[in-house]
Subunit: 129 residues, 2 copies
DNA sequence: CTCAACCTTCCCCTACACTGGAATGTCAAG
DNA sequence: CTTGACATTCCAGTGTAGGGGAAGGTTGAG
């Protein structure tokens, strides 16, 4: 199958497939006689795996690690479990940071909303912020 | 005061101050006879304002808007209140997205943790992901 | 024959907020 | 005199995940 078909099957663009090949996420596709990339169903499965990983918030470098392990013949499941574990911790961290930020901003907003025009002095640069 | 002092006082690098000047967040500093930038305490206050804005998660473009209003002599408080309001909505959105992602990843992690070695087939590319 | 729809490589561009480094100038201390 | 710590400008790169578009080759249909 040609790149356009493979891309459509995986819900990506042809640009993305070439980018993944350049990035080492996809092995270099074999070429037809006309020089066109020729993909097998396996490639689509691999692309879908990448898609699922991205949807889980994994970075391409992490997905590349998983695929490299697998390509080396190792079962990457333990590694994947580690990654997911880290990812979970990372998400918890991000969420708590954002919630802390939210409470700061909410406080600022409340203060700003309660300010009178008198307190809003151009010289003060919004001192509550 | 020279750029290094001002930067230290504001907890930034000299690179950052020059960057802010280029970006229109700081007015062009007046120069000493040797060509060095010469900062006043006001600049440090302004830098600290920028820092607080950044800490509140505002983008430099938003901070620039606030400062521009103030520089134009308008009290920017109403605008700041709008920005904070939007920022709050944005944070809520980000938090809910991250929490949704977290529950997906938690599910994947639980599945991965429950997998036996037998289910961990190198050919399967960790089918649970 | 021609046209549209594919494909190829190549290089640059995006947003964000800086950061690094080169080449050069200034100044106070030892 | 020299050394070291400052300062200046300017250009280029960082990381992320591709996107835009040029210039050209290939193929099937009408």
């Amino acid at each position: 199958m040609r790149i356009g078909e493979a891309a459509a099957a995986a819900g990506m663009t042809t640009k993305t497939l070439r980018f993944y090949e350049d990035s080492g996420l996809l092995p270099a596709a074999k070429r037809s006689s006309n020089g066109y990339r020729d993909y097998h169903d396996d490639s689509v499965a691999r692309l879908e795996f990448i898609r699922r990983g991205r949807a889980a918030g994994l970075a391409l470098t992490q997905i590349r690690e998983i695929l490299s392990l697998r390509d080396a013949g190792e079962a990457p499941c333990a590694h994947v479990q580690d990654l997911l574990s880290n990812q979970l911790a990372e998400l918890d961290h991000q969420i708590s940071e954002l919630m802390a930020l939210r409470s700061i901003v909410a406080g600022l907003h409340a203060t700003a909303a309660s300010g009178t025009d008198a307190s809003c002095d151009p010289e003060q640069i919004c001192s509550y912020l």
